[in-house]
Symmetry: C2
DNA sequence: TATTGTTATACTCTATAACTATA
DNA sequence: TATAGTTATAGAGTATAACAATA
């Protein structure tokens, strides 16, 4: 590559490094999970349902920040694979409770093992202290809501939502 | 929110925190940039072209990890907005050199200011040392290529590319 | 043959509006 | 009226294959 190309500004951007890190994680996931894999979101769903049997679809979606409308197909695929059952709540018939089938219990356990290996691979360059630092820093970054806080800033061009 | 919901496993995943952090960055960008905004990738392109006048489209795409095919529309929109000019290389007529117009020079400067404010907002919860740590950790995570290294691991289910 | 740009296409992810059935 | 789930749809982002022009 021609090394007279100036990437100093680009490389100094947090957003760009975040994007690169996410891509590296996605590449590792896709490669080691193989072609007929569950999506990341679905593996997370299985794990959550395993820890919270009968969890409401709306609750799972809220935790994973997946819109209700988009939950339908994702859960539907898990049902089609025979991993998850939808059961109507006896007390509130609007609500769908999610349960794992026997195959789903196995898949959830395998998914957790896979994700643990996946993260161990990615984090193998770090020591324990650095892993904790990275986790803590990302958590604080994610929890920092600059939009709802809405300090009535003066944006460079337009302002407001959507 | 019902607090008898177990999210300990989910919250401990690096990938989930990375996803949450990326979402927080995207929300801030979208809110403060407004509706008719340039996309993040396009703002990065303007900055790169500003630092490297006449940069080849293929080089820009490689730096930002955007496929050639997808560069066409992104650059085309910048051309349509009157910010960028495509010029054929005199020495290799296959190559398109990207240049900023006068309006593009202004837009690139405004974009850099906007991104600086954007990152400053997101990073305002951190001290200088923590910002450097986060940046360094993300960079190392992104540079850790577990796929090309391909240690011939034993994936949990399938293996192979795509 | 290989590379750059281009076109066409498709798949994923995300977001919104509108509908239903329940409450 | 408000909520959970659903349907349909649209917009981004990303990926591949095939082609023309050029090297």
């Amino acid at each position: 590559m021609s090394d007279d190309f100036d990437t100093a500004w680009l490389g100094g951007l947090l957003g760009f490094q975040l994007r690169r890190a996410s891509a590296a994680m996605a590449d590792d996931y896709a490669w080691f999970a193989g072609p007929d894999r569950l999506r990341q979101s679905q593996m997370l769903m299985l794990g959550l349902i395993a820890d919270n049997p009968g969890a409401h679809a709306s609750t799972i979606g809220a935790e994973l920040r997946i819109a209700r409308a988009n939950m339908v197909q994702l859960v539907g695929e898990l049902v089609d694979r025979g991993l998850v059952e939808r059961r109507n709540s006896p007390t509130d018939r609007r609500i769908v409770e999610l349960h794992l089938t026997d195959a789903g219990i196995e898949a959830a356990a395998a998914g957790k093992r896979f994700l643990a290996e996946h993260e161990a691979r990615m984090l193998s360059v770090f020591g324990e202290r650095q892993r904790q630092q990275l986790h803590s820093l990302l958590r604080r970054l994610a929890d920092h809501d600059t939009v709802s806080d809405a300090p009535r800033g003066k944006p460079s061009k337009g302002l407001g939502p959507r």
